[in-house]
């Protein structure tokens, strides 16, 4: 169990190549551009597909909902996405400001599960109180570092439930949700997220 957990931690932030669909694009009916070159002509690039598991934490604050005076919010999130790149990435190339192991699709669809596990707000006596916040699930559309999500949230503490939308760009996110029932209502929050992708990639 410990070994599995350790392997899981080590796998985060890396990408893994699969050999599926590995041949490139070529037309065997036409001769190579340089017939006298003794070697294989590099085929055309079919692009690549990938499955990415992005997990991490988000921290921020917001207003609305049951905490009218504002609240601090710490959430854990995991996203599984399926995406494509029109060109195959090259591990030999230097990618400025991007760690070598990190590989993100230029466009992707995904599903996010999150839980605002720790929410800090003031209680009736104006004292800071730690509570659990909503659990949510979203469908996500992303373009490299940016994306939007639409989904549903449920607050296990109050039983309130309702829709939410979220947008993110690199480390920043903003979220709007409406929880009906309990002491719900409109809730707007934002902050920073630190999510690390693990990607499995193969050619199209």
């Amino acid at each position: 169990m410990t070994r599995a957990a350790l392997l899981l931690i080590l796998a985060v932030g890396c990408h893994y190549h699969r050999d599926t669909n590995a041949p490139g694009v070529t037309d065997p009916a036409t001769p190579p551009r340089d017939p006298a070159h003794h070697g294989l002509e590099y085929p055309g690039d079919p692009g690549e597909r990938m499955i990415t598991v992005t997990s991490g934490v988000a921290a921020g604050g917001g207003v609305g909902g049951v905490d009218e005076g504002g609240f601090g919010d710490f959430a854990a999130e995991a996203t599984v996405s399926w995406g494509e790149n029109p060109t195959t990435h090259n591990d030999a190339e230097s990618r400025l400001f991007m760690p070598r192991g990190v590989l993100l699709p230029s466009r992707s669809w995904g599903v996010t599960l999150g839980w605002s596990a720790l929410r800090l707000g003031n209680n009736a006596a104006d004292q800071v109180e730690a509570r659990v916040g909503p659990i949510y699930a979203e469908a996500q559309r992303a373009w490299l570092f940016a994306g939007v999500g639409v989904g549903w949230a449920f607050d296990p503490r109050t039983g309130a439930t309702g829709p939410q939308v979220q947008g993110f760009y690199t480390f920043y996110f903003a979220r709007l949700r409406y929880l009906a029932g309990g002491d719900g209502g409109w809730e707007f929050s934002g902050g920073m997220q630190f999510k690390i992708p693990t990607t499995w990639v193969w050619r199209r």
Partner: protein, 322 residues
């Protein structure tokens, strides 16, 4: 009061970087820029000269820039002006010499720097340029003797500092990055000896929809002519075979082709045959072996030839250096 004024003067940009606005470092910077970015590879000047010119100019410039930066750091830290030819300058020049020697002699250091900075040749003969650092020290000593309190304008100093730092950092273009590995067919060392020479065969195309094979004929020195044509071709797999279709090569390349590099022979004649099949499906189900069967007419004589072929992830360029 006088002490405060000295500290302020020592810390001004002109006090520690003003030497860069002098003809000698400016000429060295110009030589470095022109040589690295215009002369190298242009064929105007022999490579032996362009190869050393950057080291000569670059070491002189690196020495002057290094001492300027060290003096700037010392002034910022202590508030005092260090001599251009004093212990700090000598230590800086020695550090540059050691780093340069490591770059030229130590493969690990060279690889690390090449990966992060740019291409740099591992060449012990470049060490003969090291005396340029001594020349830089002599020049700095002369500057120390001749320098006046009034330095060059701050803008000119800043411009010279920025330019020289940029030139020292901007090396010639890094080596080309190899493309990602890709799956392809290959036939290792496929050579058929014939009476008039040799027939070479190689996979020249491989992709999702099939593969293509080129044959090239190398004429023996004593043979008057040696021409081969493909009369039939098959790619035989464990579960069946695919017939090839010969394709006429363009007139410009279908005949004799001179050697492309020192390792590739001159071909008397060339031929191409394409095999159209679902190669992606074969790859995905693990078909990694086949036999390339060729029926040839070599100098009027029919020959059959079976060549084992493999399907594998290939790192490019494949076939280079044969």
């Amino acid at each position: 009061m006088a002490r405060v004024a000295t500290v302020v003067r020592a810390r001004t940009l002109s006090a520690w970087a003003g030497d860069l606005v002098r003809p000698a470092p400016l000429i060295a910077a110009a030589v470095l820029a022109v040589n690295d970015h215009a002369l190298k590879g242009a064929g105007l000047v022999p490579a032996a000269i362009t190869g050393k010119l950057s080291d000569v100019a670059g070491l002189f410039l690196a020495g002057v820039v290094g001492v300027c930066l060290a003096r700037g750091a010392a002034a910022a830290g202590t508030g005092r002006r260090a001599r251009r030819d004093g212990p700090l300058a000598i230590a800086t020049l020695l550090a540059i010499a050691l780093a340069f020697a490591a770059l030229k002699l130590w493969p690990g250091f060279n690889r690390a720097l090449t990966a992060t900075w740019g291409a740099n040749t591992l060449d012990a003969s470049d060490l003969w340029c090291l005396p340029m650092l001594a020349l830089a020290w002599v020049w700095l000593r002369d500057r120390e003797a001749a320098a006046t309190e009034a330095g060059p304008p701050r803008f000119a100093t800043a411009l010279a500092l920025a330019t020289t730092l940029l030139l020292c950092a901007a090396t010639p273009a890094p080596p080309p990055v190899p493309p990602p590995p890709v799956a392809g067919w290959y036939a290792a060392d496929a050579v058929l000896p014939v009476a008039c020479g040799e027939v070479h065969a190689w996979f020249s195309k491989s992709g999702k929809t099939g593969a293509g094979v080129t044959i090239g004929v190398v004429r023996a020195a004593d043979a008057p002519a040696c021409v081969a044509t493909i009369t039939a071709a098959r790619l035989r797999f464990a579960d069946g075979s695919v017939d090839g279709r010969t394709v006429e090569l363009p007139a410009a390349t279908g005949g004799a082709a001179g050697p492309r590099d020192a390792h590739q022979p001159a071909y008397e004649s060339l031929g191409y045959v394409g095999f159209a099949f679902d190669n992606q499906a074969r790859w995905n189900r693990g078909d990694r072996n086949a036999v390339l069967e060729l029926e040839l007419l070599v100098a009027g004589e029919p020959r059959t030839w079976a060549v084992p072929a493999k399907h594998a992830m290939l790192t490019f360029p494949v076939g280079a250096g044969r």
